[in-house]
């Protein structure tokens, strides 16, 4: 076997453990169909049903929108404007670092698989509403960022990108990986975009929270979905254990029964920190475990998005 062959073999061994969450396309459709695909108001004005005011006629405007009564009353050519429901770009940022590949025996799939289902479902809901969807990655291999896409093919492109990713990489010490993803979002996300970060929030480098919160400018909506494995969420280990982190070289030998409460408190402290920061910038944190019902989690996300929308 040559070098490329060995690389392919290694990549196959590290393929995402979809478990019971696959196939992604069908699963995402099922999840998306389970939620209400309501529209959201757009700040863009144009053709619509609700009156939005007048403006001076400029050559090239549709003559259908000339307001004859206003011409007669004011002696000028005025065009009627209407508010219309238009697209808000959904930018999905997925954490594909090594820790997201973790799946315990009790979990239906890896954390990244669960996040991918949510992302695909969100994409489907967004595309159904006419909103474009973009995808960015933190860490991972074979991850292909997608620009804002709309239309019929967009969902297939998003699903293909989600299916091709291989989790990996240690982002705990790799600030560049996070910077790349967030810089891309900051550069391309338009006003009113919805930015959804799907991550376990475990091994992200220091300062990630601040940098992500900084994306809330320009009326962007920030949503963070923390995806944990059931084992991580409950720490249901017992007795003497030796735990090795997926990223970094942390190895802890401890008595699980004795430190359970301490661990859960530390885990909750991380979530509280993110929650407080996001609340300050109008965002929200959705806590999820891979054993949760994706429909329920998606509903929470959508409620958050609507509640924070303009």
């Amino acid at each position: 076997m040559n070098a490329s062959g060995r690389e392919t073999q290694g990549a196959l061994e590290r393929l995402l453990d979809w478990g019971r969450l696959g196939p992604l396309r069908l699963r995402a459709r099922g999840v998306a169909d389970g939620v209400y695909a309501g529209g959201h108001r757009s700040s863009r004005r144009g053709a619509g049903v609700e009156f939005g005011g007048h403006r001076e006629y400029v050559p090239g405007d549709d003559l259908r929108w000339l307001d004859r009564r206003a011409i007669m009353r004011h002696g000028r050519l005025l065009v009627r404007q209407f508010e219309t429901e238009t697209d808000r770009t959904l930018r999905l940022v997925l954490d594909a670092s090594a820790s997201m590949a973790f799946r315990s025996k009790a979990a239906p799939g890896a954390k990244l698989a669960f996040a991918a289902v949510l992302a695909a479902a969100l994409a489907r809901v967004a595309l159904a509403g006419g909103d474009p969807v973009a995808v960015d990655w933190i860490g991972g291999e074979r991850c292909h960022p997608l620009p804002a896409l709309g239309g019929r093919e967009a969902f297939e492109r998003v699903v293909a990108a989600l299916e091709s990713v291989i989790p990996g990489g240690d982002v705990s010490l790799d600030d560049a990986s996070v910077d790349r993803a967030f810089a891309s979002v900051a550069r391309r996300a338009r006003r009113g975009s919805i930015i959804v970060l799907l991550s376990d929030l475990i091994d992200l480098p220091e300062g990630t929270l601040d940098r992500f919160a900084a994306l809330s400018s320009m009326g962007r909506t920030l949503v963070v979905v923390r995806v944990l494995d059931p084992l991580e969420a409950t720490f249901s280990l017992e007795g003497a254990v030796r735990l090795r982190a997926s990223e970094g070289d942390v190895v802890v030998e401890t008595d699980a029964s004795a430190v359970r409460d301490g661990y859960l408190a530390a885990l909750d402290a991380v979530a509280v920190r993110w929650q407080e920061k996001l609340s300050a910038v109008g965002g929200m944190l959705v806590r999820a475990a891979t054993s949760d019902d994706p429909v329920h989690v998606l509903n929470e996300i959508l409620l958050g998005v609507r509640g924070n929308g303009p």
């Binding site: 090594a98 820790s99 973790f102 315990s104 025996k105 009790a106 376990d200 475990i202 091994d203 494995d229 084992l231 991580e232 720490f235 249901s236 280990l237 017992e238 007795g239 003497a240 254990v241 030796r242 735990l243 090795r244 982190a245 997926s246 990223e247 970094g248 942390v250 190895v251 802890v252 030998e253 401890t254 008595d255 699980a256 029964s257 004795a258 430190v259 301490g262 661990y263 530390a266 885990l267 991380v270």
Partner: protein, 677 residues
């Protein structure tokens, strides 16, 4: 090694199975991936730690059990190297165990125990392989060689006798021990007879003979570095000591120290002198040793003449026991009183009397005390072992009383009666040597009857021609109970002896003077004096002897001897007889306090320097094992291994029981590392 043995030993490889299982279990349960590990606090895994400790104990027990099973499966093919008896055609064996209990066997070996302990251990190993029908004799090779236990089939008695053996400071008499062992086996009906020597052979060579002797323990013959105090004595304010060293290295950097002995008390004459301030253990003098092998004598001036001293060597060596010895006063040998008239008994060339010169020529360890008159007090005679009177002029009543009392307490008095016996002074007699008046007569006898003096050996024949000018007529004058031991060639008594209390009276019918006869010029005269000294030595006992030399006390009714190791056992030759002879056998060097019928005395036991200077050696002709009778250094250890296995099983049961009974503090049902499925 047969296939079966190899197969059984291969089972031992399974000892790694529990280890592997343990390691595998540990690896599965211990480390697992957990992404938020950095959020998990570190805590002492109490339950796991306890489990590991218990598991290790059980793991060890099980590993040992597997090994034991492997060895048990391989036995009796796998054998240990302790001594054992291999039998020829399964017949019974007659075995003589010669255990050397001499001083040199006290040396420590490189492995830790002394040579004597190794020898006893070897003897025990051999005894463990004996069985019903075997006969075992136990012989000790410390001089004189002794039969500790005659050949017996009571193996329990042999074990008991062996356990009772203790090392001594005797010389080595391996030659006599081997002869004794062969004699002990001679009368036994066994055809398979063996003599096993457990000695360092620091003595005479092993005599050839049947059955040949076998010396199995080579570890006993490893040379050691040792120095020992052979003897030490004070003469006035000068102390001298003889030191023996096995090598120059043993003597290098060491010195002889003279210290005040425990319990030493200064005499009245020393009141107010420096000695009164000397306490037990105080260093009196110190002399550096010359670094060479062999014997050396060191001399030191001391200023505490009348204090009992001990001589000890600084530093350490293989035998610590011989590094200290008591210091005896000079002349601790026999003290002989000699009463002569210089006018009649001195040689014409001048100097000492003929009698004194003859005694000096014997080179015995005796000290002469010339006397001009006999003391009237028996206390003055007490230090004497023997008293020789040459042509005495008679004994006054006071003198006779003192002499009689002294003889009754063990003294030996010899009177060479001459012409002055006929003219004793008024009130004086020659009692208790003779009763009544004694007549000096002219005689035609030429000398002694050789037949009557045959007990003296070859020198006695020289007394057959004495050319006497006269003789004391003893016939009719000897007291009742006297026994004539030599006669003139005409039948008249020449020499008579009589037991008197614990002592002995010897009467001779000739004076020593060369003017009266040629007796003093004959070799037989020296032989007579030698016999006299020997009698005195046996009765009184020398003040300084080698370890292992018996002390005899003839006629003593009450005897006690206190040695370094406590009171010694007194053997009575004939308890019912009035002239019973008591014997004590001191085998350890040191100072002994003897009490004979209430009269105290101090004796010193020393060591033979050859025990130190003679290096151990291999026997000249090491008999082949087959010739000896197939004694092999192998034995079956099945029983011991089986017992060990049983003990291991019991230990595992105990461990498991303890694990269940132990309070379950900190141990929960969920101590197992599991993830809920």
């Amino acid at each position: 090694m047969s296939f079966l043995v190899a197969g059984a030993l291969a089972v031992a490889l399974l000892v790694i199975a529990p280890v592997l299982a343990h390691l595998l279990r540990r690896s599965r349960a211990d480390e697992r991936e957990f992404p938020p590990a950095k959020l998990v606090p570190v805590a002492e895994p109490v339950a796991r730690q306890r489990s590991r400790l218990e598991d290790r104990a059980l793991l060890l027990v099980r590993a040992l059990t597997v090994l034991g099973l492997a060895v048990l499966g391989a036995t009796p093919f796998v054998r240990c190297s302790r001594l054992a008896i291999a039998r020829q055609a399964g017949g019974s064996v007659a075995l003589a165990l010669v255990v050397d209990d001499s001083l040199s066997m006290r040396a420590k070996t490189t492995s830790g125990p002394t040579r004597f302990e190794l020898a006893k251990s070897g003897a025990r190993d051999l005894l463990d392989t004996t069985r019903e029908g075997d006969a075992v004799a136990l012989v000790l090779a410390g001089a004189p060689a002794r039969l500790a236990l005659s050949a017996t089939t009571d193996l329990g008695a042999v074990r008991h006798a062996l356990a009772e053996l203790a090392p001594s400071d005797r010389s080595t008499d391996i030659e006599g021990a081997v002869q004794l062992a062969r004699t002990a086996l001679k009368q036994l009906p066994h055809t398979d007879r063996r003599v096993v020597l457990l000695s360092d052979f620091a003595g005479n060579p092993v005599p050839a003979g049947e059955p040949p002797a076998w010396a199995p323990l080579a570890a006993l013959r490893a040379p050691v570095d040792d120095c020992g105090v052979v003897s030490a004595e004070t003469r006035g304010r000068r102390a001298s000591a003889t030191i023996a060293c096995s090598s120059a290295r043993a003597a290098r950097g060491r010195s002889l120290e003279l210290v005040a002995s425990a319990g030493s008390e200064p005499g009245p004459a020393d009141a107010g002198t420096s000695s009164t301030r000397t306490k037990a253990g105080d260093l009196v003098a110190s002399v550096k040793l010359e670094p060479h092998a062999g014997e050396q004598t060191v001399v030191s001036e001391i200023d505490v003449a009348s204090v009992a001293l001990d001589a000890r060597l600084s530093g350490k060596d293989a035998i610590a026991h011989d590094d200290e010895a008591p210091v005896s006063a000079a002349g601790s040998g026999l003290l002989l009183g000699v009463l002569t008239d210089p006018a009649t008994s001195s040689a014409t060339t001048g100097g000492s009397s003929v009698l004194e010169q003859a005694l000096g020529a014997l080179e015995e360890e005796v000290t002469l005390r010339p006397m001009s008159v006999l003391p009237d007090d028996d206390k003055d005679l007490a230090p004497l072992a023997a008293l020789i009177l040459d042509d005495p002029t008679g004994l006054t009543p006071e003198t006779r009383a003192a002499l009689s009392t002294w003889v009754e307490r063990g003294g030996v008095a010899a009177a060479w009666l001459g012409p002055r016996a006929e003219s004793v002074q008024l009130g004086s007699t020659l009692e208790p040597f003779v009763t009544g008046p004694l007549r000096w007569e002219h005689t035609r006898a030429k000398g002694l009857d050789p037949a009557s003096i045959g007990w003296l050996g070859a020198p006695g024949t020289s007394l057959s021609n004495l050319e006497p000018r006269g003789r004391a007529r003893l016939e009719g004058a000897l007291p009742s109970g006297a026994r004539v031991t030599a006669r003139w060639d005409d039948g008249q008594p020449f020499l008579a002896e009589m037991a008197f209390g614990r002592g002995l009276l010897i009467t001779t019918g000739l004076p020593v003077s060369v003017d009266q006869s040629d007796v003093a010029l004959r070799p037989g005269f020296l032989a007579l004096l030698d016999e006299l000294i020997d009698r005195a030595a046996r009765r009184v006992g020398p003040r300084r002897t080698l370890a292992g030399v018996p002390w005899t006390f003839a006629g003593a009714s009450k005897l006690s001897v206190e040695g370094p190791d406590g009171a010694l056992r007194v053997s009575d030759s004939d308890p019912g007889a009035t002239s019973a002879q008591k014997t004590v056998l001191p085998a350890v060097l040191g100072r002994y306090r003897v009490s004979v019928d209430g009269a105290p005395e101090v004796r010193v036991v020393t060591i033979d320097p050859k025990e130190i200077t003679t290096p151990p050696r291999e026997p000249e002709s090491q008999p082949d094992r087959v010739v000896v009778g197939g004694v092999a250094n192998k034995t079956d250890v099945s029983r011991e291994v089986a017992l060990g296995l049983l003990a291991l099983f019991l230990l595992e049961l105990v461990l498991r029981t303890l694990r269940r009974v132990k309070p379950r503090r900190g141990r929960r049902r969920s101590d197992r590392t599991t993830v809920p499925g």
